[in-house]
């Protein structure tokens, strides 16, 4: 049993959310400049 599984799942999910948020924010910013 992976001792860190809950933390790893949480870290993965949070990372995906953070990356999507950052990339989305950058794209929105770029679009707003146009």
């Amino acid at each position: 049993v992976d001792l860190y599984r809950p933390w790893r799942l949480a870290y993965f999910v949070v990372t995906v959310i953070a990356v999507v948020t950052v990339v989305g924010a950058v794209l929105l910013f770029a679009l707003s400049l146009r």
Binding site: D2, L3, R8, L9, Y11, V19
Partner: protein
């Protein structure tokens, strides 16, 4: 033939012109394709390392630290954010870098071999040029992908740092709350064997027995930690239930087992001192027996706080009840007899009774090792009147022969001065302490007609004064804040304890939060 060649050249020029015209679009498309592959690769590898969705692909955990304390390591798995997360990230990044490199090489070799390598002839120019553009797109896409990955990595690292800061804040908050509660409840923990104060107990794993010296929230867990045996979760604070584990002294040269549920009640230290053979062990046993017996009559409830105390009293009670002599107390540093006293209102105190061999009080070097005296606010001085020269010389020869084996070896004045000097040298102010003086063996004195006339404190004080202990009586009066004399036998005749013992017990616990009243 010539016309065809011209046509081909023209066609090539047109194609090249079109390629040049659409170069940004075509190369951008290729670049986008490769950048997307880089990002996909990144998330695939990252998910693999974290075991998402299949736990079997997860990176194996770090090796558990060995049981080393000099470098501050504990026999527990570190918390995910205190090491494993960083290792997961670096492991994922190194795998991504290696896979991106190998994919770049493979792709570029495939494109070169399929599209670019070979003779440049008019009919193959288009394919060769497309191959070159693809390679250009591959380079551009990899560069874009790398840039995006750097950004994503920065986001990830920042996230890990933020989570770490949050965890650290929770850690310090929990430690602070726990410490504040201990202070608020005035709970101070001390080792019953080495007597040193303990900021926080060490705990043993119930499964493998590994000693966790600092179990509090930190790099091994916030609310709980996993022992290296991988069988046991251990709570990290008294608040969270660590008192249910076996507590030990955290000092590496001691590691003695503390009282059960150590840290849940304020401690009361009651040292008993007196010359060798003065009757300290007997008196201590009778004090505890009186407490235990009175519990049913609505007194304080008594609960032995460790197995050693329980076992020792189970050995002592039959000896005392039978009126037999107790064994001589060993001269090693004494371990406290610890028990919990709980009042009817639920107030609990952990009492440490120290029964030290009389020989330890004769030598200042050995006396200064008794650091538990520093924590005491109430002392019990066991005074054997048979060791007073004036009384002893007044007894007949036959009585002296009979009492000789029962007589304490050194004069009470000497023992008292020794203890007083050392207590003062430890920085304790006796004026802030209370002293109970138990004059023992008064049943023997009564049998030969030399017992004190009265049982009240003043009468005993006067009696001692007349016996030539006037210096001792004066010194006691001037040095201690509160003094009371008692006469005790500590030798239950017919199963009834001497009436002096309940009075002594009542006075000793009078200013504690668990006062005791003799049952009516």
């Amino acid at each position: 033939m010539f016309a065809v060649m011209i046509l081909q050249v023209l066609l090539a020029i047109v194609v090249i012109a079109l390629l040049v015209l659409f170069l940004p679009v075509i190369s951008g498309g290729f670049a986008l394709y490769h950048a997307a592959r880089c990002i996909r690769l990144y998330f695939r590898v990252f998910a693999d390392v974290l075991g998402v969705p299949d736990p079997a692909t997860a990176r194996p955990p770090l090796p558990v630290p060995r049981h080393q304390h000099r470098d501050g390591r504990e026999p527990a798995y570190p918390h995910y954010l205190f090491g494993p997360a960083q290792h997961d990230l670096t492991s994922a990044l190194s795998r991504i870098r290696a896979e991106m490199r190998s994919e770049f090489r493979e792709s570029s070799a495939r494109i070169w071999g399929t599209w670019v390598a070979g003779q440049w002839e008019p009919q193959t120019v288009l394919i060769r040029l497309l191959g070159l553009i693809w390679i250009y797109g591959l380079v551009l896409g990899t560069a874009v992908g790398t840039f995006v990955l750097v950004v994503v990595t920065l986001v990830q690292v920042s996230l890990a740092v933020v989570l770490l800061v949050v965890i650290l804040a929770i850690t310090f908050a929990l430690r602070g709350v726990d410490t504040a509660l201990l202070r608020l409840r005035r709970i101070r923990i001390s080792c019953p064997r080495c007597y040193r104060p303990i900021s926080y107990p060490a705990y043993r794993c119930p499964t493998c027995g590994a000693l966790h010296r600092d179990i509090r929230p930190g790099r091994y867990g916030v609310l709980r930690r996993r022992c290296r045996c991988d069988q046991q979760w251990l709570p990290t604070l008294l608040l969270l239930g660590s008192h249910r584990l076996t507590a030990c002294c955290p000092h590496p040269d001691c590691e003695a087992q503390l009282a059960d549920r150590s840290g849940t009640a304020t401690e009361l230290t009651l040292p008993i001192f007196g010359g060798s053979n003065a009757g300290k062990t007997r008196l201590m046993s009778v004090l505890v027996m009186t407490l235990v017996d009175s519990a049913d009559a609505g007194g304080l409830s008594v609960e032995f706080a460790d197995e050693m105390t329980d076992r020792r009293f189970r050995q002592l009670v039959p000896v005392i009840t039978a009126g037999e002599a107790t064994r001589r107390t060993v001269t090693e540093l004494p371990r406290a007899y610890s028990f919990y006293l709980t009042s009817g209102r639920g107030t609990r105190r952990l009492v440490h009774l120290f029964d030290t061999a009389g020989e330890r009080f004769y030598d200042s070097d050995r006396l200064e090792e008794l650091q538990y005296l520093r924590a005491a606010r109430t002392f019990l001085f066991v005074l054997d009147p048979l060791s007073v020269d004036q009384l002893w010389s007044g007894l007949s020869d036959s009585v002296r022969t009979e009492f000789e084996p029962l007589r304490a070896q050194r004069s009470p004045a000497f023992v008292f001065q020794q203890v007083l000097q050392n207590v003062e040298a430890m920085g304790m102010d006796p004026k802030r302490a209370r002293l109970a003086i138990a004059v023992t063996k008064t049943d023997l004195l009564a049998a030969v007609g030399v017992a004190p006339a009265g049982t009240d404190s003043a009468a005993i004080e006067e009696w001692l004064d007349e016996l030539g202990l006037d210096h001792l009586v004066r010194a006691v009066r001037h040095t201690f804040g509160s003094v009371r004399y008692f006469q005790t036998t500590a030798m239950p005749a017919g199963g009834d304890q001497d009436s002096g013992v309940p009075g002594l017990l009542e006075w000793m616990l009078a200013d504690s939060p668990v006062p005791w009243r003799a049952p009516a």
